[in-house]
């Protein structure tokens, strides 16, 4: 136990576990959950009505299954800066910010200006090349230090094409992914996303879990932060494995930091067994630092996937990397296609984002994030909560476990009832964090310290309430 506590994480991240804690009464949590759900329902009647209507046409009443929760999600009519307005007329502090896609803030004026200008005088779609898309690509090439890239419309497309590029470049087919890792909807990447614990064997040798509708092919899974198993897989199957797909900082299981030296070891293993290393930076990207997580942790992948933060809220994504891994697109071994790829509107937005995502702007948001995490740490100590904080770049999270989370199994062992209550508590008090309990908050360019103080105050009230 104490060994785990002392385990060092990559210094680019921030994690603080409490020295002392006492458990929270389960009956109290249950009572508060009932009370808060009742409060939720009595204050969101218009959202309930809207979900009923929407469910008749959209499965679950939503446009992506992520958006749904029981009994119904909150429906939003508009967003500006750091705030939402919901159909019940409430103003909510948005800390989810489109899973990170809204890093520059809702309706950021520079992004709006750039897109408006493109709509007025450039066009919406050419399906032939144009200087705007090239400029956007050049900017990202420089910023992320990659040789070549292509634009897509979503993270899912980017991860899918990255895997294909790796297959074409290595002449192999199989992949390795992290247990519990999410990389969008492409079949092989749907293996072992939210796998039930009883079906996946031991942590040291996890069994891949294939959900029913998936045709995945040859996929190996490994725990994050585990290089021993990773090497064993590579040693035994390296001849058929094309790529290892990993989020450098796992941001789909709250936030999990790499152990110190882990990513460097991963890089060396991939080199040794001639396996393409793909960093999925759909969630990290600009939220992890001016040049993304890879450069921040000092490990260069062969391919990288980008989405969300680079597009200012518009459907823009990309994949790219070293020349030899993008060569299959050049020579036709892996055609990359798409009608809307790099259309003038999204690349105009991307250029605007690239201009405003300066080191100063990101440092400012990160300072606010760190001050927020500090304030929450104090409350955790004061109330001896069985919880700790993790932060990376402009993102932060409270994890309901007194010990560090290093992989999917650790994550599954955290207290989900407290996580649900904490999320609902904020929601009932005008603060919306992502619904999955596996997400984190984001300090966008629109959030001020005073906005984040709302989260801190709400967390203090929450701490008081669960302590009774």
């Amino acid at each position: 136990m104490s060994k785990v506590l002392n385990l060092k994480h990559d210094p680019a991240g921030r994690r603080r576990v409490p020295e002392k804690y006492t458990p929270i009464s389960k009956t109290r949590v249950k009572k508060l959950l009932a009370q808060e759900w009742a409060r939720f329902q009595s204050t969101t009647t218009n959202s309930a009505t809207h979900n009923k209507r929407a469910s008749k046409v959209l499965p679950l009443g939503v446009t992506s299954s992520f958006q749904h929760w029981n009994p119904y999600p909150i429906s939003i009519v508009s967003a500006k800066g750091a705030y939402f307005k919901d159909v019940d007329g409430r103003k909510l502090l948005d800390l989810s910010m489109g899973f990170g896609a809204m890093m520059v803030g809702h309706l950021n004026k520079d992004v709006v200006k750039a897109v408006k200008k493109a709509m007025r005088s450039v066009g919406t779609l050419f399906v032939t090349p144009g200087p705007l898309a090239t400029e956007a690509a050049e900017r990202f090439q420089k910023r992320f230090d990659i040789d070549m890239l292509r634009f897509t419309n979503s993270g899912t497309e980017s991860t899918m094409y990255a895997i294909r590029a790796a297959r074409a470049a290595t002449g192999k087919k199989a992949i390795i992914k992290i247990e519990g890792g999410y990389h969008g909807g492409y079949d092989p990447l749907q293996v072992s996303v939210k796998a039930p614990l009883e079906k996946i064997g031991s942590a040291s040798a996890p069994k891949p879990y294939h959900p029913g509708a998936i045709e995945a092919g040859e996929v190996y899974v490994v725990s994050y932060n585990d290089t021993v198993r990773l090497e064993a897989i590579m040693k035994n199957h390296g001849k058929t494995i094309a790529a290892f797909m990993i989020e450098p900082i796992v941001e789909n299981l709250s936030i999990i930091l790499p152990d110190e030296g882990y990513l460097k070891a991963v890089r060396e293993l991939c080199d040794k067994y001639k396996i393409a290393l793909i960093f999925d930076e759909v969630k990290t990207g600009l939220t992890a630092g001016v040049a993304g997580a890879a450069i921040r942790v000092g490990v260069k992948p062969d391919l990288i996937t980008l989405a969300k933060s680079i597009g200012g809220g518009l459907p823009l994504a990309a994949f790219g990397g070293k020349k030899e891994f993008m060569q299959p697109v050049v020579d036709g071994r892996m055609p990359h296609l798409g009608t809307y790829n790099g259309n003038p509107l999204v690349v105009a937005a991307a250029i605007a984002v690239d201009k405003i995502a300066t080191p100063e702007a990101l440092e400012k948001a990160e300072a606010i994030n760190n001050a927020t995490l500090d304030a929450i740490d104090k409350i955790i100590d004061e109330y001896a909560l069985p919880a700790h904080t993790v932060g990376f770049g402009v993102k932060g999270a409270v994890i309901w476990s007194p010990t560090p989370v290093r992989n999917y199994r650790d994550f599954k062992a955290t207290d989900f009832e407290l996580a649900e209550l904490s999320w609902l508590w904020g929601l009932n008090r005008g603060i919306i964090t992502p619904p999955g309990l596996d997400e984190q908050w984001l300090v966008s360019f629109a959030h001020t310290q005073n906005d984040m103080n709302k989260l801190v105050r709400s967390f203090r009230e929450f701490a008081k309430a669960i302590r009774g």
Partner: protein, 334 residues
Amino acid sequence: MNAPMRFGLIGTGRIGQVHASSVARTEGAELTMVADVFVEGAKKTAEQYGGVATAEAMDCFDSSKVDAIIVASPTPTHLDLISAAIDANIPILCEKPIDLDIKRVDAMRDKAAKATIPIVLGFNRRFDPHFNSVHQRVQAGEIGKLEQLVLISRDPAPASKEYLAVSGGIYRDMTIHDFDMGRFFVPNIVSVTANGFNQFSSEIKDLGDYDATSVTLRGANDELVLITNSRHAIYGFDQRMEAFGDKGMLRVENLTNTNVRLYNESSAEVKEPYQNFFLERYMDSYLLELAEFMKKVRGEASNSPEFEDGRAALVLANAALESSQTGKTVSVSL
């Protein structure tokens, strides 16, 4: 590193000036909006301490301009401004008393309880370093179990007739601070026995008000809180306290500006007169009150008195008035 907390001030009269200067003197705070129906007052204050002047209080309820609001306008405006702050989701520090009418306060009680913003009441005396030190030492057990708290508050001279006419009477205007101080030490009060006196001012008597009073509060554990007030004191602002317990006593005497004493033919150990009035005597407390409010706004641990404390003081004031009029002890449940 962090942007300063931006304040909107509503009301730039006597106490408004104090708050404006406190904000200006506090690191990490700045005045960005100043409202007063008497717009010249707002302009003058803004010129001196910063901010944009306006005649319209509602201009302050804009989260793009302010992060917190201080209300220093007359008492009848307080509840409406608290309500507006809740609607705008902006933390508020509101002067005492919360209102003069408990029915209006109770009508807001539910909304205030559900509010997610800090609603802080301006009971600054809790933050007076002397009284606060007594409180801390009582909490630390230095005098054992607290049995008696004696509060003596006497103003140097009555306020103007116009002020007194709308002040809500001695209990709601003046003793209100002592009710809160009593509750600071003994939060759970169960009964109130009070006597009102007309000793020196026919003006006050004509208004149907008292110029002096004595009040006894009984705590749930049979603690005694004894309050003595007068609207005048020839020797200045009289603000004293004794906390008495089974292991000892803590006592706060009046303050003079300096510690210089005069010795001469006719006297010895003569001090200068006591600090004049609340502006001098409690200057530090307003600064500390602001600092504590800012902690609350930032989500840090804070002991700022809240809406319910404002309400409780008013309930005690009403009970004291009833007791004075009926001659009976009045039970309260806070």
